[in-house]
């Protein structure tokens, strides 16, 4: 499903953010990516989305060769991937409802379906009442949950979530994780970047640990790993 071969990413300055990574994530897997601040986790996600181009190496998603994907085809790749960004990236000038509905409009879902699906999604993340608020009128955790609702609303085959519980209290975090597990059970490939040791330890899923741009461990049923 997701295959990286010898992928590196150098930003102009300094050491490479991703250094020669090989990685294979099967369809339907649930994967945690953990690692230090600055290890290259977000960079990895940006590469999968083709927001960034790898400096070297090959990336395949759903058997599409991402490196050579035509500009015209990129949107269709992205429609297969729901993403929760670390910095949320909500549309500042649209309210919660429109932010989530936007993801559906992009793939031309009929309005009738949108009107049913968006509120359902919002209540699933506990924001049914806030649908008319604008991002700047939400608390950090609320924004994060809107980002999650937006990523999930289209039922994408792949979900990438970059630190989806960083601004959430433990109870909310657990609920979100249960939601992701649920979605995973229905067939979605889920990749979660997180610093939440408690959750990683408890869920006993595949854990990939990164450090300074390389994968230092990859365990089928792991806990949070400290690199000491």
């Amino acid at each position: 499903m997701i295959v990286l071969e010898n992928v590196s990413k150098n930003y102009s300055a300094g050491a490479p953010a991703i250094n020669n990574i090989d990685l294979k994530i099967e369809k339907g897997e649930f994967v945690f990516i953990v690692g230090d601040s600055g290890a290259g986790k977000s960079t990895l996600i940006k590469l999968l989305l083709k927001e960034l181009e790898p400096t070297t190496g090959k990336i395949y998603i759903n058997d599409k060769f991402v490196n050579k994907l035509k500009r015209r085809k990129v949107p269709y790749l992205r429609r297969d991937i729901g993403v929760v960004f670390q910095d949320f990236r909500l549309l500042k000038d649209r309210n919660v409802y429109d932010n989530v509905a936007f993801a559906q409009r992009v793939i031309e879902v009929p309005s009738k379906v949108i009107r049913r699906r968006v509120p359902a999604m919002l209540s699933m993340v506990g924001l049914a009442e806030k649908y008319r608020s604008f991002p700047k009128e939400l608390s950090g955790g609320e924004q994060q949950r809107v980002a999650l609702a937006r990523a999930l609303v289209n039922n994408p085959p792949i979900l990438l979530a970059d630190e989806p519980t960083g601004n959430l209290d433990p109870k909310n975090s657990w609920e979100i994780m249960k939601l992701l597990e649920e979605i995973n059970k229905r067939g979605t490939t889920v990749v979660v970047v997180t610093h939440n040791k408690e959750i990683v330890d408890a869920m006993q899923k595949r854990v990939i640990c990164m450090q300074k741009g390389v994968i230092i461990s990859d365990e089928k049923k792991g806990g949070y790993i400290y690199e000491n």
């Binding site: 927001e51 949107p75 549309l91 031309e108």
Partner: protein, 302 residues
């Protein structure tokens, strides 16, 4: 593209205008200001050219006849002249009229001074035609024709007045063409400047939309609708203002300058707006469209 997406873009473009009030206002303001200037200028310039053209029409040529030319010959010459394309109309002044005018000019009220010439019109040979022409540029051609005519003793014409007016007309033409072109260029620059800043502010938003899997078209269409709407509003406002100003200014100025209304002769509002309305709307919508198009294209790369 489904029809739904088309309507979504349309609606979204209009909603965007409300969402980004500041930017929309600034853009409409800029377009309004620029098109207002262009229109104002255009109005002044076409009127100026109109006046120069009027003045040109008042330039005339006078011809005198050989001694003893009969009235019939004069009439024949007159007919021949009237047939020329250069000629707008001609007026005949008999020898008696000429003497009367002369006395008036040189002796004024004291007509008794001219008594000495009583029965002896010193200007017996001064019957003349005054010829008004269509276009000062044609004067030279007409003059050589007239000079070649049999029975014509002398052709009086003011080559300096004619060339002065031609020159002045050309000067006005040059300067105003240059000014209009500069104004257009500056206007387009200013408007696309504003559009560019406005859209650059939203490049973050565009990037997010692209990451959601939106196609270039889907992202761009609302911006284009927005650009065109802003452009049209920004063109309509100054047209309205100019219409009011123009009709009132013409009325006011005509009132003020009754003395010279032969030269100070304004074009009617409709004559001016027949050109101005389509030009302004095309500039407004065109720049709104192009500005959005170009700027977004730059931001679509992600």
């Amino acid at each position: 593209m489904k029809i739904k997406t088309f309507f979504y873009s349309l609606q979204q473009g209009i909603v965007n205008i409300r969402r980004n009030k500041l930017y929309s206002l600034a853009s409409v303001g800029t377009i309004t200001a620029c098109i207002f200037l262009i229109g104002l200028f255009y109005s002044v310039v076409v009127n100026l050219q109109h006046m120069v053209h009027n003045a040109e029409e008042q330039i005339n040529i006078t011809i005198f006849f050989d001694n003893g030319t009969s009235d019939e010959d004069m009439a024949r010459i007159g007919d021949a002249i009237k047939k020329r394309v250069e000629v707008e109309r001609i007026e005949f002044t008999s020898a008696e009229d000429a003497w009367k005018n002369f006395k008036q000019l040189y002796f004024g009220d004291k007509a008794e001074l001219a008594e000495g010439f009583k029965n002896n019109n010193p200007l017996a040979n001064s019957a003349s035609y005054t010829i008004y022409i269509n276009d000062v540029n044609m004067q030279d051609a007409l003059v050589s024709y007239l000079e070649s005519m049999k029975g014509v003793r002398q052709v009086n014409y003011s080559s300096s007045a004619a060339s002065m007016l031609t020159d002045f007309g050309r000067l006005v033409g040059y300067v105003s063409a240059a000014l209009i072109i500069i104004l257009l260029a500056v206007g387009i620059f200013l408007i696309s400047n504003t559009v560019m800043i406005g859209i650059t502010v939203r490049k973050g938003e565009i990037a997010i939309m692209k990451l959601m899997g939106a196609t270039d078209f889907f992202v761009r269409a609302p911006f284009l609708v927005e650009g065109i709407c802003i452009g049209l509003v920004g063109a309509a406002i100054p047209l309205g203002i100019l219409y009011l100003i123009y009709s009132n200014a013409v009325r006011y100025l005509l009132g003020q300058f009754q003395g010279i209304s032969t030269i100070v002769n304004f074009l009617s509002v409709n004559e001016v707006f027949r050109v101005l309305v389509p030009v302004a709307l095309i500039i407004g919508a065109g720049i709104g469209f192009m500005g959005s198009m170009i700027t977004i294209r730059k931001k679509l790369k992600i």
